[in-house]
């Protein structure tokens, strides 16, 4: 099931907006494609990013996926649990495996998909 309480990007990231903040993660499809996640590289708290910029990377045994933020903002918090348990990204991508919490700068999000639109994207292959 794709949670309908958030928005999605074509790069298979999800974004949950709450009170001027956004939580960012990758989708179940993305974690399956990546395989076993063994390391997550995160930005430092306080770092500011414009929309569309790379804010970190997820490394599985076999591949690397860069993470781009679809919105501009300042990093409020990163998921520190992932330092010792990167596998949470595989086990619970929509929950415990979240990546970054951003304070929105007001820029974006544009062109994000709803859960049903994202589902159609996946179905279209």
């Amino acid at each position: 099931m794709i949670p309908d309480d958030r928005l999605y990007t074509e790069q298979h990231e999800w974004l949950k907006l709450e009170d001027g903040e956004a939580v960012l993660g990758i989708t179940d499809f993305a974690q399956q494609e990546l395989g076993d996640v063994v390391f997550v590289e995160m930005p430092a708290a306080g770092q500011a990013f414009e929309a569309g910029f790379e804010i970190g990377a997820i490394e599985s045994v076999k591949a690397v996926a860069e993470i781009y933020t679809p919105v501009g903002g300042t990093v409020k918090e990163t998921n520190s649990q992932l330092e010792d348990a990167p596998e949470l990204v595989n086990e619970d991508p929509y929950g415990e495996g979240w990546l970054v919490r951003l304070q929105l700068s007001g820029e974006g999000p544009d062109d994000l998909m709803t859960a049903s639109e994202y589902e159609s994207l996946l179905a279209a292959g």
């Binding site: 395989g35 076993d36 063994v38 390391f39 590289e41 990377a57 490394e59 599985s60 045994v61 076999k62 690397v64 860069e66």
Partner: protein
């Protein structure tokens, strides 16, 4: 783009839920349940790999021995029937065209097991040599031969159950032939564990695969893909031809000088290697582990600290599941200086960030010694 080849075991992989990826022109199983679980299975119990993409070249006849002595750096004359060794096909510059296994089936009967990507070129080379040396027959058996590797501490019991108990008596790098099955069972592998590689005709491959899976299930045998094969071989410090070693690398640079036997006669590349042996070599493959946070990958650059210019590309880099940290092999330019010592500080640049590393001795992982194998 030509259509990817499939091995005869393709259907079995689909059945086991494999995810496929392209490798050397083949559509190969990369993983089934996941690389980490498959890697662990091989280290702790057993894993089974379809490596039928590998090439098999038969070289037979009264002059087969002298042909192979001239083509490869290891001493084929010292190889007794029933034994195999690791060797290579080299350029005149002493660099790798391919690494391979030489099996001596009989006094005048040899089998070369080569990498899929270089098979055609290897075959051409051997055939060209056979034109000069008469009385040698060269046959490419790759298309009719499947290869199943069963690896891990439980491998001996499982393989003995399926092909007969004589398999578990085999010493490392020995093999037996089962003529009635057209099968060759060899105690070799590419994982750093005890294990076997079973060469079998295409027609019987599926039956053998399924029987191994069924009989091995109780002992924890699982199918494992090329993803786990890569992390396993890297932990074991084994080179991947076309990636760690290629036409820019000699066995001496790769730390494989043991495969070069000087007391035999002439062989392709000998002169160039002799010069390196005398005068040393600039480039060396070194093992390293990542001390900081991050993973070095193929193509990143490793720099040895306090040694200006001593740097070079990472040829293999991955998270090592058994060790719980990232490791790699890099090809560094040592200039006129020595090879960096184990323990030497280094760094690797990953996405614009310098990550601390340390030079370490290969292999990264050595399996616990047990009796047998």
């Amino acid at each position: 783009m030509t259509r990817a080849l499939r091995t005869v075991l393709y259907r079995c992989h689909v059945e086991s839920g494999a995810r496929f990826g392209p490798y050397a022109g083949y559509e190969m199983p990369i993983q089934y349940q996941g690389v980490l679980a498959e890697h662990r299975a091989v280290r702790e119990r057993a894993g089974m790999f379809d490596v039928s993409h590998m090439g098999e070249i038969s070289v037979r006849g009264p002059r087969a021995l002298s042909l192979l002595q001239g083509l490869t750096p290891n001493n084929v004359d010292a190889l007794a029937p029933g034994r195999a060794h690791y060797s290579a096909l080299l350029t005149a510059r002493g660099t790798f065209i391919d690494d391979l296994l030489v099996y001596r089936l009989g006094e005048e009967d040899f089998l070369l097991v080569v990498n899929a990507a270089s098979r055609a070129r290897d075959l051409e080379l051997v055939q060209a040599a056979a034109q000069v040396e008469e009385d040698v027959r060269v046959d490419d058996l790759s298309g009719e031969t499947a290869l199943i590797a069963v690896q891990g501490p439980e491998a001996a019991g499982i393989v003995a159950d399926v092909v007969g108990s004589e398999a578990s008596e085999l010493r490392y790098y020995s093999f037996l032939q089962q003529a009635s099955e057209g099968r060759l069972v060899s105690r070799t592998g590419y994982t750093g564990e005890d294990g076997f590689e079973i060469y079998t005709p295409n027609e019987s491959a599926e039956t053998l695969w399924l029987e191994l899976l069924e009989r091995g299930g109780d002992r924890g045998l699982v199918p494992a893909g090329l993803g786990a094969r890569d992390t396993l071989r890297l932990e074991a410090g084994m080179m991947l031809c076309g990636q760690d070693i290629d036409e820019t690398t000699t066995p001496i640079e790769a730390g494989l000088s043991w495969m070069v036997k000087w007391k035999k006669g002439d062989f392709v590349g000998r002169e160039a290697l002799a010069r390196q042996r005398q005068g040393g070599c600039r480039h060396r493959l070194v093992g390293f582990e990542v001390v900081g946070r991050g993973i070095a990958r193929h193509g990143h650059r490793l720099t040895v600290s306090d040694r200006p210019g001593c740097a070079g590309p990472v040829t293999s880099g991955a998270f090592a599941p058994t060790l719980g940290r990232a490791i790699g092999i890099a090809r560094v330019d040592c200039g006129d200086g020595d090879v960096p010592e184990p323990g030497a500080a280094a760094s690797v640049e990953v996405r614009g960030r310098e990550i601390a590393c340390r030079i370490v001795k290969l292999p990264f992982y050595l399996r616990p010694k047990t009796s047998g194998g």
